[in-house]
Symmetry: C2
Subunit: 364 residues, 2 copies
């Protein structure tokens, strides 16, 4: 086996870093899991061994998020993009409208896919405040009264924007939590549907978690593919077809790891500390800049720019030499982005700030 580099901190926005302890355990067990002499990915999803994996993963997630009993937890194919279609096709019923709150790239993408199924009422919530990017308070969001639901994305990975409030509404609230789930405490009972692609805070790409209130299971359109139908998935315990078993297993390992860290409350504290270290340094520096208003700064994705963009390539190259990888910003916005999901240890953020400080000293 090749030796593992000691000091790589991976700031990828997704597929993102997974907890090192989880990866080492998965490696140890890869060809002989549970004493079976085979990998967990080589056994039937209907075997008692895999059913136990599946059930434990669901229960651990229920524990971590304190999910009420009247919510189903589904493990789906198709990623969050699949849910951009699945949400309207499952929830519209006889309605033809839904409200989409637009505060960034992902919310906008969800609204675009929804046009296949309904007339999305799009409310632009992103605005400028004191020279910074910000999101209007949820109390001001304009919700179309004929909407079947209200969709929003509480953390925009590309823009580095986070939304911390919820609207007062009798419509089901649907949230794309791909890049924020399990990073901070939430009250699941306030939502109709929460969904999240795994590849940030949960596990490898190729699985998507859907948490859906059970009174919303009877509204699906006839032409919805069964693999995306909440009711069919709920009735079959997410085994309508062969699920992505290895991704489900690894997600379950991450849930157990998170419980060992003290759960969501404990990891939120660490996440806020990590974000504070990075934003504080950026704010005190004249060389780096983050343009999001402090009310809406993401604790998961921290985009920043250099005062001298011509040094971007050098910054990335030197960072990589120090084991600080995947810091390049999204192609839509340029600059840098440090994604500091649950699996990023505080030492990674400290190492990044140390490097940024040195780079500034050499180039300011």
């Amino acid at each position: 086996m090749s030796s593992t580099k000691e000091m790589v901190f991976n700031f990828s926005a997704g597929p993102a870093s997974l907890p090192k302890e989880v990866m080492l355990q998965a490696q140890a067990d890869l060809v002989d899991w549970n004493g079976l002499g085979t990998s967990v990915m080589e056994i039937s999803h209907r075997s008692k061994e895999f059913i136990q994996v599946a059930e434990e993963a669901e229960q651990d997630l229920r524990d971590l998020l304190d999910i009420p009993d009247n919510y189903k937890v589904l493990f789906c194919h198709g990623g969050a993009r699949g849910q951009f279609a699945a949400v309207p096709a499952n929830l519209l019923g006889s309605a033809s409208k839904a409200t989409y709150i637009d505060a960034g790239y992902w919310a906008e993408s969800a609204a675009k896919e929804a046009e296949k199924y309904c007339q999305p009422h799009i409310y632009k919530a992103k605005h400028e405040q004191d020279g910074h990017l910000a999101v209007l308070p949820a109390s001001q969001w304009e919700i179309d009264p004929e909407s079947a639901f209200v969709h929003f994305c509480p953390n925009e990975t590309i823009d580095g924007i986070e939304i911390n409030d919820l609207p007062e509404t009798d419509k089901p609230i649907v949230a794309d939590m791909s890049s924020t789930i399990l990073s901070r405490e939430i009250d699941v009972s306030k939502y109709g549907v929460i969904y999240a692609g795994a590849q940030k805070n949960i596990g490898p790409a190729g699985i998507c978690i859907v948490i859906v209130r059970d009174d919303l299971l009877d509204l699906a359109q006839n032409t919805l593919p069964s693999i995306l139908n909440y009711k069919e998935l709920a009735e079959k315990d997410s085994m309508y077809n062969t699920p992505p078993t290895f991704a489900w297993y690894l997600s379950g390992c991450v849930f157990k790891w998170l419980k060992q860290q003290g759960g969501v409350q404990a990891i939120e504290k660490v996440n806020r500390e990590k974000a504070a270290i990075l934003y504080s340094y950026i704010d005190e520096s004249d060389f780096y800049k983050n343009s999001v208003h402090s009310n809406n700064r993401s604790i998961m994705n921290v985009p920043f720019t250099l005062a001298k963009p011509e040094l971007d390539a050098e910054f990335l190259e030197l960072a990589k030499e120090q084991g600080l990888v995947a810091l390049k910003g999204h192609r839509a916005v340029g600059g840098m982005r440090a994604s500091i999901y649950n699996a990023m240890p505080i030492e990674g953020v400290q190492a990044l700030v140390k490097f940024m400080r040195e780079f500034e000293a050499n180039n300011a």
Copy 2:
């Protein structure tokens, strides 16, 4: 790391055994792939490192199946069940009919999902011949002239049935090759669409290969979710959204392994030899029975029953003690089933026959 059992032969129908060499390499590389200090599942699907994985996997598959240039190769979410919906929703165009050849459980399931999109003309091709299960010759299949396409499943995993001929028709032929792809030579140019869930002959569950002729890309229905839209996937090189990267990587490793074995022609020879060993013994024995006609016996899935079904549990228990696992038949048909996909070495089949012979001697 726990030690690997030497002698486990895994006859699971799917998720199935993967080549041992591939699994050992994946294990060695799991936490530090390609010298990056991270796993391949922790890097961006848009990184140059992953793009290379993706492109090589596609090229290797093209080489293995000699896929003509006018076919797109897609790596999709959703498994073959996702394609049960995707096929009609992508191919119907303005047609409202399609022909579904029914020779087993999976073909029937595909036809049922198709009812959401069209009126499937279902032709029952399974019949009894000389006291055995058989499939009517493709030349006799009744194809509705208004059909947009003809769908069939050339290998039925549960029934243990294989179809080796194709109808003469001007309609695009669509084949669910989940359990037969790469097991024997095929002429891709005869098909409109070939699709296959990975978890038998390709890789882990959670990825599905679609090979589609490029003149069929413009017929999709408006309400088809983008993640299942062939044209969108083709235009985006299967990265319309984050693909299941680890499953894609591992599939690519299996393709390279298969090339090292000499490709499809060479593995077909081994597969036919493996199947012949098992069927020959079953036929010479009075204790075991396979009820499929020799014309249609699957070389991938071999169901068989014991003369004394009350010994089923003991058979399974003793087999497991000898490292012969996952031999229980599908719950729909009972008995036993040995799935002997590409990754099953001939030694596994020999060990199974040796055990069956001993069990017969002790219990006949």
